[in-house]
Point group: C2
Chain length 110, copies 2
DNA sequence: GGCTTACGAAAGTGTCAACTTACAGTCTTT
DNA sequence: AAAGACTGTAAGTTGACACTTTCGTAAGCC
């Protein structure tokens, strides 16, 4: 899921969308009117964001109100903070690498 | 540049590479030996990381030693922290959106 | 000089993703 | 029930990208 979220925010357009609905609820039409692409394109972006858990939808009549999902954002943020910290992961990585190398035979010099 | 960095770490393989050279200098061959893809593939990943300012290279004889670049990582990190914070950007975004809407005529309801 | 090592660059391939146009669904209104 | 408004979905196109194999190049060694 974090992977999806990272890929989602790697797209500039989606970051802009996120900012628009950061603390306000907007319909997809209202969101689309802020950009120069067609509405379906925005719909697809919203789907990607929703699949990544970064936005929530609320249906109200024929409209759908989108809003940033704090939990998803927090999860991504925590992952990244763990990434900057790093050290713990290094051990896990090293173990996996050792495994791979053993079954492959790489040219390595210490 | 931050955009490049974000796209760079959106790729899982590149995140793994980054972790490997987080605090250690490794040759591209050594890095490649940790994965199951070919060496040129890793070379290309390293190039992407270098272009994004996330990695530095040091040539020593025939080898090239790669290492994570703290400044680049810090820059990306600060951008993201500003992103979580958000509010400042919202104003800028609103202004640009206003501009776009004026020259386009969107259906918008207050 | 000739050979090997370590690496990037070039060219080609398959896949994914961002976009478009066209269509279908759902809710409100009359 | 029919019409209109607000949407998501389907299908197709184009460009990017992660990868492969092949080749070129710079440094060390006999």
């Amino acid at each position: 899921m974090v992977d999806l979220a990272l890929r989602a925010i790697a797209e500039p357009r989606r970051r802009e969308i996120l900012r628009l609905i950061w603390d306000a609820e907007l319909t997809s039409g209202a969101i689309a009117s802020h950009f120069e692409v067609t509405r379906p394109a925005i719909s697809q972006h919203l789907r990607v964001l929703a699949d990544a858990g970064l936005v929530s939808v609320r249906r109200q009549g024929t409209r759908r109100l989108y809003r940033a999902r704090p939990e998803g954002l927090a999860e991504l943020r925590e992952f990244l903070e763990g990434f900057w910290e790093g050290r713990l992961w290094l051990l896990k990585q090293a173990a996996e690498a050792e495994e791979r190398r053993a079954s492959q035979g790489g040219t390595e010099r210490t």
